[in-house]
């Protein structure tokens, strides 16, 4: 079961997270049999699942000097689509570059079908669609894809056949004669995807593949990704938008600050978040001391109001120095979405003078941010 949501307390780096997908259900296998081989009509396509995981990351960490890019990530993927979502700088692209063997982990190991991701042997099984928008601009789309096929080591004729099949697959067969430099963003994305599919890899690592694609193209891509998954391929697809990935797969990994903050279906993540007390700091403007001579009136008024909310499990009044202009209140609350809705209502009704509101668990905040956005959309 892909329910391995990290507990917020361990989100600081104590415990690695695990993710596992297994998509060899009867339904998908039946569907796979109906789908023709994507690139080599007539050639045999094995749909038999390998016993070993397609991708296995074990406690992978990567630093850029003093900055940590990926922090203790453990990941195990077999077949199917996994969405990787996170904001800019969350570590998605770094993780993908590590998986594709462009970067080497400082700690931990990454294996693709049992081979070290840095090795040449692993690259035979990986198709990578990078986010970087760089090409051999002087080439036509067809020449570019064919060059990539030849660089895989295919003979000319087979490279041509695979190129045509890949271009057909991404909807570029009729438009591939033009120079790449004249392509729109969407066309460039399609060419990048075509080169990733050429050698029929077991693992497809796609960094923002839907970026710049029009709605029609998106639905084509979504269909293609599902077809590939049905063929037993393992797809790891990153995106900024949870909503986008939700249409594609229900198996999501959320990255924040180099860590996988949550893994599982969106519903599972929401459920776990609902049950997990979130720590929030609310600063109210300083007012006169209360009866006890220590806590301010406004601080106590807010605490009283908060305790009336059904999701609040604890309130703590923190001391502030005389120089500070605010009095902080720490709140622990379950069911974040409902809590924030009620908090907003409370603030508007009671006219608390809130100077600042901050969620103290960064990972949870990231997850929450995505989920709230996803639900509101």
């Amino acid at each position: 079961m892909p329910d391995l949501l990290d507990s917020p307390d361990s989100g600081r780096g104590d415990r690695p997270l695990e993710m596992q997908t297994e998509r060899h259900g009867d339904k998908e296998t039946r569907r796979a049999e109906e789908i023709t081989a994507p690139f080599s009509p007539g050639l045999p396509v094995s749909l038999s699942p390998c016993l070993e995981p397609v991708l296995l990351c074990q406690r992978v960490s990567k630093w850029y000097g003093p900055v940590i890019g990926v922090n203790q990530v453990t990941l195990e993927l077999r077949s199917g689509i996994t969405g990787l979502v996170g904001s800019n700088g969350a570590g998605k692209s770094t993780l993908m570059r590590l998986i594709t063997g462009h970067l080497r982990p400082d700690l931990g190991s990454i294996q693709v079908l049992g081979r070290d991701s840095w090795s040449t042997a692993a690259r035979r099984h990986v198709g990578y669609c990078p986010e970087t928008d760089a090409f051999y601009e002087e080439m036509s789309g067809r020449q570019f894809v064919e060059s990539m096929a030849r660089l895989c080591g295919y003979p000319r004729r087979e490279a041509e056949e695979r190129t045509e099949a890949a271009l057909e697959r991404v909807g570029m067969a009729g438009r591939a004669e033009r120079c790449v430099r004249g392509y729109s963003k969407g066309m460039r994305q399609r060419i990048k995807l075509a080169q990733a599919l050429l050698h029929d890899p077991e693992l497809l690592v796609l960094d923002e593949p839907l970026s710049g694609i029009d709605p029609v193209g998106r639905s084509e891509f979504v269909r293609l990704f599902r077809d590939l998954a049905a063929l037993g391929k393992c797809l790891l697809i990153s995106s900024h938008e949870l909503e986008e990935l939700e249409k594609l797969t229900d198996h999501i990994a959320i990255m924040a600050h180099g860590r996988i903050a949550a893994v599982g279906t969106v519903a599972q993540i929401r459920d776990r978040l609902d049950n997990h007390p979130l720590l929030i700091r609310i600063d109210v403007k300083k007012s006169a001391p209360g009866d006890n001579g220590r806590d301010s009136v406004e601080q106590r008024r807010l605490a009283t109001g908060l305790l009336k909310l059904r999701d609040v499990v604890g309130v703590e009044l923190l001391d502030s120095s005389p120089e500070e202009s605010v009095d902080p209140v720490l709140v622990r609350a379950r069911n974040p979405q409902r809590f924030f809705q009620e908090l907003t209502r409370l603030i508007l009704e009671e006219w608390y003078e809130i100077a600042r509101l901050e969620t103290l668990d960064d990972s949870t905040q990231a997850v929450l941010g995505y989920l709230l956005r996803g639900r509101s959309a």
Binding site: A37, P44, S46, T100, H102, Y128, P130, R150, G153
Partner: protein, 337 residues
């Protein structure tokens, strides 16, 4: 009859299946991908892409054209001989006129048969020096100063730094690194693709320069081309290595070629032996020693013989390539944003 045709069809189908089964798309089975084929294609692709190299190459070719024109003008002016040289400078008779006058004066002072023979020999040797001095002059100005110190490093750096540096700056290296080719093979393939360009430009450019130099030029080409070849290999491997090390290799290569090489090359004693230019010159001095070409002050220059110099340059090429292969195989290249 039908059965026979059916059997044939089945045989054909079996053959087809056998031939096509060499390519399998299963993750659990090997796929017929040939590294050698991929490597050869990468050499071809890189060679083609090298042709699109940057402004640096344009500048290098422009400078070559300019240098050839300059040499051609000097050749037309007869600058590669001592025929026009005068003593006192610009005012006195030419050196050949001096030879005639010396012979005349000596014949007046000694009219014996032996004396006349000696006078003729002295005059002939004087004329010989004047005639053959063209090669020495061309070697000094055209080869050592213009070509070896300036054009050759420039030609090499313009192509060699572009080979990897251009891919890195254009963020295209990731396409190569995504392919199932060993990194060491990628490094060596790009070097193999680079060589036709650097060798062609250096040997070709040197040949054209010598052609423009007339007779002494041709003699220089016949004697010096092995040194140019060896120097090209060494410089190419060095500047190519810089592409694996530095994000902006052209800057590092310019600093090396036009500052460090000059400083090392003019160091006294053995210090100059860390310069590629030193060994190239040694090969040239060795090749042209029969024509009296030698360092201005051999006791300071401390040359090595031609064979040693060649061995050092070739050895250096191999060592630099080895280092580059290791560095490239271990490096993690990030996109330049």
């Amino acid at each position: 009859m039908e059965t026979g045709e059916q059997v044939k069809r089945e045989e054909k189908a079996a053959e087809k299946a056998t031939s096509s089964s060499s390519v399998t798309l299963s993750p659990c089975h090997p796929v017929t991908l040939s590294r050698t084929r991929a490597w050869c294609y990468l050499v071809w692709l890189s060679w083609q892409r090298q042709a699109r190299a940057s402004q640096m190459v344009g500048i290098a070719v422009g400078l070559l054209v300019f240098a050839i024109l300059l040499v051609a003008i000097f050749t037309a002016m007869g600058a590669w001989s001592m025929h026009q040289w005068r003593w006192p400078y610009r005012q006195g008779p030419t050196f050949l006129q001096w030879a005639d006058e010396i012979q005349l004066l000596m014949s007046l002072s000694d009219s014996s048969a032996g004396g006349q023979g000696l006078q003729a020999a002295i005059a002939a040797s004087l004329r010989g020096i004047v005639e053959t001095a063209g090669f020495a002059i061309f070697s000094h100005w055209g080869v050592f100063l213009l070509f070896l110190s300036f054009l050759l490093p420039l030609f090499n750096l313009s192509f060699a730094t572009e080979a990897l540096g251009g891919e890195r700056e254009g963020n295209n290296l990731l396409w190569l690194l995504s392919r199932p080719l060993p990194r060491s093979a990628i490094y060596l393939a790009k070097f193999a693709a680079l060589l036709p360009w650097t060798l062609g430009l250096n040997l070709g450019g040197f040949g054209l320069l010598c052609l423009a130099g007339g007779k002494p030029g041709w003699l220089a080409f016949r004697l010096y081309w092995p040194a140019v070849l060896a120097a090209t290999l060494a410089f190419s491997s060095l500047f190519y290595l810089m592409g694996a090390f530095f994000r902006r290799p052209a800057v590092a290569a310019i600093v090396y070629a036009f500052f460090l090489e000059v400083i090392f090359g003019n160091m006294p004693g053995y210090l100059k032996r860390i310069s590629i230019g030193f060994y190239s010159r040694c090969m040239m001095f060795d090749a042209a020693s029969a024509f009296g070409i030698q360092p201005e002050r051999p006791e300071i220059f401390l040359p090595v013989d031609g064979t040693t110099a060649l061995a050092v340059l070739l050895g250096l090429t191999i060592v630099l390539l080895g280092i580059g292969t290791i560095v490239f195989s271990r490096s993690q290249y990030q996109e330049i944003v």
